[in-house]
Symmetry: C2
Subunit: 210 residues, 2 copies
């Protein structure tokens, strides 16, 4: 199929597809002439993957490229790919000195995770995200420890166990990797949406009169 058909089928504007090609998010089609190239189902699938990561997951172009590169690299062991996807999703990295409050929160989060018995890389960006959430609570006057997250940790653990268990075992590597990455991104958005819906439901009964 040609680029215009790819645009029509996917619903992505043609200039945007060209932009993705320039940015290396899409592989070039196989050229049939100096000014003509052919795109296949693989391109369509990849384009949809890109859009899902950007629109549902909120990733930027560079983050998407990082994820795609990790998926494509056959030498990487599976769990590194998950780690790389998390790195792309998470905050960029430390810039400048870390306030004392944040350092304290990170230490508390580290201890909390250790108490849970979770084996997580020390560099996982989600550690910092969690610490940032704790700092935000402190700054708003909530005098809490990392153990406020306990109920969330229990729920997250159950969900993660379920998710990883439903990943098929025998499938080819690339397929498995993509499935895990898509699951990470899409179900994160879904979980957030469901939590808000559940909140709205409970708020109706809790604050119904007021």
């Amino acid at each position: 199929m040609r680029i215009s058909e790819l645009s029509r089928v996917s619903g992505v504007p043609l200039p945007t597809i060209k932009y993705y090609l320039r940015e290396g998010l899409l592989l070039p089609g196989s050229p049939t002439a100096p000014n003509q190239a052919d795109y296949g189902d693989a391109h369509l699938h990849r384009l949809r993957l890109v859009r899902a990561l950007m629109e549902v997951g909120g990733l930027g172009v560079t983050a998407v490229r990082a994820v795609l590169d990790a998926i494509a690299d056959d030498r990487l062991p599976m769990r590194s790919v998950v780690g790389l996807a998390h790195r792309a999703l998470g905050p960029p990295s430390d810039s400048g000195p870390v306030p004392e409050e944040v350092a304290r929160a990170r230490a508390e989060v580290d201890r909390f995770l250790e108490d849970l018995g979770w084996q997580v890389s020390q560099e996982a960006p989600a550690r910092r995200s969690l610490a940032d959430a704790l700092v935000a609570l402190w700054r708003l006057g909530r005098d809490v420890g990392a153990d406020v997250f306990q109920p969330y940790a229990v729920a997250a653990d159950e969900l993660a166990a379920f998710e990883l268990a439903t990943v098929p075992t025998g499938a080819p590597r690339a397929e498995t990797v993509e499935r895990v990455v898509v699951g990470t991104v899409v179900f994160e958005a879904a979980l957030a949406a469901l939590r808000r819906l559940a909140q709205a439901n409970h708020a109706a009964t809790r604050f119904g009169g007021d």
Copy 2:
């Protein structure tokens, strides 16, 4: 305290505080002279609230303003405030015609929520977010119904019930409202982070050998 002290204590750059004042995110201090004003603890707290919503929650300036206005408006019933906060967090709104696939996903999500017995406003933006997640799965070749979200809905329901139950009853309205809004935003980020950490933990055992 003066603006420079507010900047020093909060860690927010002074020009940024001025910007927030211009944008109406912060109330002006009480003027002590034509070019001097005094800021109190309320300003500091509000500034921290703004930063938490932006940095942890990822809200934009306009969304933050909408949330703050909703909090401040005493006439609004409590559950409307929650709804407004959700509206600020969620996708902006429909622009242009809705693809048939999306309409189908929305219908399926609506039926799913009805089956759950949840009482949620038809306009809740989280409905659309959830439908978007479902569409993304479809486009990536996963032939699933809205019931893939079942385990997530169970977890979300438990968490929401717990969260709303821990809101103190007797507190002044403004305090309660802020607590609920902060909880929505901060614990959403925390839950996402914990899910990734739990995934990393389970991935280590699941894909340990590879």
